[in-house]
């Protein structure tokens, strides 16, 4: 099972993402954006990692979404192969219309706005650990294939534009109904509080990750590759010092899910 970690100019999480994917038993390589796009078809799955592709010119993800490799990825997605976009990768998938995947560009990841008690308390870039609640049924989505409903996963996030917005008043109802909402920001007890600091970037209904209707394409703002090893956890996390340097962290479940999804699909 071989995956491509797609690298655009300005991507900056490709190495640790590949390491995390490998720790889950996937093999793969980093795929530079200007390689012949047809070479992508030899891979079983794709990850678009975080970073600042094309310097976030225009909007985060906007330029990368127009690259020929994205046309190739769209074709692979239609074949049912898994694609996971993390952080900037999520932004690119939204700009490319692959997410939420309803036929157009239906949503956007806007600038963070932290709201508490009716007041904006902070804006802009924010880096912190967060808890995600898995909302979709198991096997619904490639990147959360192995997760149960309500399962909690800890991982960090770091972005300036992760606030999911839409002008379509019915979009959230459709996403909820079709189980396209994969992750929501919640507190450590699993409660979804719509206010900062639980809703860490102001996202609609605390949405942290969504998938397409078919479930093979997942986009999420938090970084599972940064919590794929136990030693990466926060010091206050009891799991931090358990096991050796290879011991898994919660984020590895995302990559293990991808691997299982590829196996089942075969």
């Amino acid at each position: 099972m071989k995956i491509a970690v797609v690298q655009f100019p300005g991507t900056n999480c490709e190495h640790e993402t590949l390491v995390a994917a490998r720790s889950a038993g996937l093999s793969g390589e980093i795929f530079r954006w200007n390689r012949p796009a047809e070479e992508l078809s030899s891979f079983d799955g794709y990850i678009i990692p975080g970073g600042f592709s094309y310097q976030d010119r225009l909007r985060a993800g906007a330029i990368a979404s127009k690259e020929p490799v994205m046309d190739a990825l769209r074709e692979e997605a239609e074949e049912g192969k898994p694609i996971i976009g993390i952080c900037n990768g999520f932004q690119i998938l939204v700009e490319a219309g692959l997410l939420p995947g309803l036929g157009g560009v239906d949503a956007a990841l806007a600038s963070n706005v932290m709201v508490s008690k009716g007041e904006i308390v902070r804006r802009g870039f924010y880096c912190a650990w967060t808890t995600l609640r898995h909302e979709a049924p198991p096997r619904r989505c490639s990147g959360s294939f192995l997760l149960e409903v309500g399962e909690l996963v800890r991982m960090p996030l770091a972005h300036a534009e992760g606030n999911l917005v839409t002008v379509d008043p019915d979009l959230m109802a459709r996403l909820n109904e079709d189980h396209q909402v994969v992750f929501r920001y919640c507190n450590e007890a699993g409660e979804v509080d719509p206010e900062y600091p639980v809703n860490i970037n102001g996202s609609l209904e605390n949405v942290a990750g969504i998938c397409n209707p078919e479930g093979n394409v997942l986009g999420m703002m938090p970084h599972p590759e940064r919590s794929s090893f136990a030693w990466q956890l926060q010091p206050t996390d009891p799991g931090k010092s358990v096991g050796d340097m290879e011991a898994p962290g919660p984020g590895r479940r995302i990559f293990e899910s991808m691997k299982r999804y590829i196996e089942v699909r075969r």
Partner: protein, 773 residues
């Protein structure tokens, strides 16, 4: 330019009207060495290379006199762009430390961003992967007369740092921030970068052996040269004057982390190619002094000359004058020297594989000339020779013996009455912008990128990363300097900065491996400022020598990199002497490191380090009594070394589960922070009588004498005490961790401080955000 035969004032007038900073005598010595009148481009080259920034003309003798830069673990001392020390037989840590003070005062965002941009190039060009940065910052008084401007500077600097570092993809894992009126018109923005490299894969920033005889190519990579940053090093070597502000803006470089991100990856491909084929290259960043500085130093340090054609260099326009092309400090550029047979492949990596011309308008790699054996530094432009000088004369610089004179000060200890209850004093200290939580700032920093973070800002005294996957070792980083001590005693400011930076890495269980110093002072032509500089260097060198590299008796902790920043002065005044120290610590297994948050109710708390009447420059005097005082903390070298070693050993033996060093705010702030950084459900109860001191309670808890508070794992008391005794340290078991969510201290049977954690947290978390709002 005509110099020979003219009167001094005529030469002076010509130099100034040309925009040169060279003195008349410097210009005359150039003409004398050349045996003719120099050209304008030649004078600009000398102006650049002989600036304080490039030549260390005032500081070099002092640094050489005091600092120890070698040691058993040193792989590369300060001669190159960055210093290197060994981690193990295979891996090394690369470190560089610089200031970007003047640019950050004028244009905070761009100034700070290019500071990060420059320091990461210094580390990368050694062949290393850049794995972390740190940012020691000094801003003016956020509540003083210049508060609006001070806050504009502070906000812009923090924005510039995160915008650059986050986009580049290098985590910021350490730093400190101090606010004081002495920085109102001269902020300090220091930057530290560290990288990792295998010992056999280090690249030197000089022409390789055989480059002259073999006609090696000189290649410039990156952004097209423009006029930005022209005069940057000269501007950094003068005082800031308000009337020059417009002109100075032009001397500030323009940052581009996006292009840097792509360049780093292309560099990695180049390094891989040359490693695999066993080819030695020279590689250097274009930083201060631009093309002239990089090319002349790369040639001269290998004993070669250079023959360079500025027409071949990619530029934004062909209309730039030769001196601007040569001396502009356009960012995001590197210089490569390689054998001619590698050139085509190197150009392909940059121009095709990484597609620089399409990624960034005008960016590319261009061959600009050859290394020669004739010892001349020759540049050509538009068919004319614009510069032809002896290369070693150009890079050799000049030396000044500056005059020194102690600054006369009359600091006195304030007459104060010990308050009955110290709770209010603690809340004031915790709320001070210099003590309060740094969270407001570090949430802007991507501390997680690269996925290597083990301990992050706010979790302990130092940041810790595991930078090489598959390896257990960790690199710890911390930065320190207290300007208030510097004001009273520059010598002890230097010594305490070294001791505190080392204590910080020891507090997580890492062993100090190397230090860097960035020395920020006023105008060295003023004897008092030069005296402050010398005193600081003497103090920090004494501490580095006396605290020893652990495992090697009588061996100094080496100082492998550093920077001197003079002229942090304006007509309104000079900065407090600020010898900012960074310490790199190493730990064999990152899972053995500890943080400062309290772990478990019932664990005993030990104090190491007796309390002395040392509140000069303390947060307590400043915040509660509006006084400076005189008795600065001193470093008792043998005691300090024992404390640091005891902390490291007791953490390694797993007797200690939380540790925090005592510095700003004294033992009271240290105890409070240990309770506040965690989940907030554990408190501390201390009986100050166990400190065995006859100081009044306020002095006891707010004295900034060095030391640690350690949380001992319950049941390991005997083991911990054995280690402490082994180092000759007093056993001071002050109290214990409680489940009561409050801080309590008693003295002579009376409660002198009692506060619930909610209240303390409110004070502690609000201070910095308010100061920067």
């Amino acid at each position: 330019m005509k110099i020979i035969g003219l009167e001094d004032q005529e030469v002076e007038a010509s130099l100034r009207s040309a925009g040169l900073g060279l003195s008349v005598s410097e210009a005359r010595s150039v003409a004398e060495a050349l045996g003719r009148d120099p050209t304008i481009p030649e004078l600009f080259n000398y102006d650049t290379m002989w600036s304080e920034h490039c030549s260390y003309k005032s500081s070099r003798a002092t640094l050489k006199e005091f600092l120890c830069t070698s040691g058993p673990n040193v792989v590369q001392g300060p001669e190159e762009d960055a210093g290197i020390v060994a981690i193990d037989d295979e891996w090394c840590v690369v470190i560089a430390h610089e200031s970007h003070n003047h640019p950050s005062q004028i244009l905070p965002n761009e100034g700070a961003a290019t500071g990060i941009g420059g320091i990461v190039r210094d580390v990368n060009c050694m062949g290393a992967k850049v794995v972390a940065t740190a940012d020691p910052l000094r801003f003016g008084d956020p509540y003083g007369g210049d508060r609006n401007h001070v806050r504009w500077v502070a906000e812009g600097v923090v924005d510039g740092i995160w915008q650059y570092g986050n986009a580049l993809g290098v985590p910021i894992i350490a730093g400190d921030v101090v606010f004081d009126g002495s920085f109102d018109t001269n902020c300090l923005v220091n930057v530290v970068a560290i990288g990792v490299v295998r010992r056999g894969e280090i690249i030197k920033s000089r022409a390789p052996a055989g480059a002259g005889e073999g006609g090696y190519d000189v290649i410039v990579v990156g952004k097209p040269t423009d006029s930005s940053g022209f005069g940057g090093v000269t501007f950094a070597s003068e005082q800031l004057r308000e009337e020059d502000e417009e002109a100075n803006r032009g001397a500030i470089q323009i940052p581009d982390p996006f292009l840097k991100n792509v360049l780093f990856k292309a560099n990695e491909a180049l390094f891989k190619l040359t490693r695999e084929e066993g080819i030695t290259i020279g590689f250097k960043d274009l930083g201060g002094g631009g093309f002239t500085c990089a090319s002349s130093e790369m040639g001269a340090s290998a004993g070669y000359g250079m023959d360079l054609d500025l027409d071949l260099l990619h530029k934004v326009s062909d209309g730039l004058p030769p001196e601007v092309v040569a001396c502009a400090e356009t960012q995001e550029r590197f210089m490569l020297i390689c054998p001619p047979e590698v050139t085509e492949r190197a150009l392909k990596i940059y121009n095709e594989d990484w597609d620089l011309p399409n990624v960034y308008e005008g960016a590319r790699a261009s061959v600009v000339g050859k290394v020669t054996t004739n010892g001349r530094y020759i540049t050509r432009y538009r068919g004319e020779v614009t510069c032809d000088v002896p290369i070693r004369h150009l890079t050799g610089g000049i030396r000044y013996q500056r005059e020194e004179r102690p600054r006369m000060t009359s600091f006195e200890e304030p007459a104060i009455a010990t308050p009955e209850d110290l709770t209010d004093a603690l809340l004031k200290v915790l709320g001070s912008p210099n003590v309060s939580s740094r969270e407001h700032i570090y949430r802007y920093y991507d501390t997680e990128v690269q996925g290597n973070a083990v301990i992050r800002p706010g979790e302990a005294d130092a940041g810790l990363i595991a930078p090489v996957r598959g390896k257990k070792f960790g690199i710890a980083l911390s930065v320190d300097a207290n300007p208030f001590y510097g004001r009273i005693s520059p010598y002890w400011a230097g010594a305490t900065a070294v001791a505190e930076a080392m204590r910080n890495v020891a507090a997580i269980g890492a062993t100090p491996a190397t230090l860097t110093d960035c020395l920020n002072f006023g105008n060295p032509e003023k004897p008092e400022a030069f005296w402050e500089f010398r005193e600081c260097v003497r103090g920090l060198a004494d501490a580095a020598k006396a605290l020893w590299l652990k495992g090697y008796e009588d061996t100094p902790v080496p100082i492998v990199s550093g920077n001197v920043s003079f002229y942090n002065e304006s007509p309104e005044g000079t900065v407090d002497p600020s010898p900012i120290i960074a310490c790199v610590g190493l730990i064999d297994d990152v899972r053995d490191a500890v943080t400062m948050d309290l772990k478990r109710a019932g664990d005993p708390i030990y104090l190491i380090g007796p309390r002395f009447d040392e509140l000069g420059g303390s947060e307590y005097y400043r915040t509660v009594w509006r006084a400076t005082g005189r008795n600065v903390p001193v470093v008792r070298f043998d005691l300090e070394r024992s404390m640091i070693y005891a902390a490291i050993d007791s953490i390694a033996e797993k007797n200690v589960v939380a540790a925090h060093d005592i510095s700003n705010g004294g033992l009271a702030a240290t105890a409070a922070e240990m309770a506040l950084v965690g989940r907030g459900d554990l408190g501390i109860d201390l009986d100050l009588d166990a400190a065995g001191s006859d100081l009044p309670a306020d002095r006891l808890i707010f004295s900034e004498s060095s030391g640690f508070l350690l949380e001992c794992k319950a049941g390991s008391e005997e083991d911990l005490e054995r280690i402490l005794k082994g180092y000759g340290l007093e056993i001071m078991r002050l109290g214990e961790v409680t489940g009561s969510r409050e801080l309590r201290m008693t003295h002579h049977g009376k409660t002198v401080l009692r506060v619930d954690l909610e209240t303390a947290k409110k004070a502690w978390t609000g201070g910095l955000g308010e100061a920067m709002r």
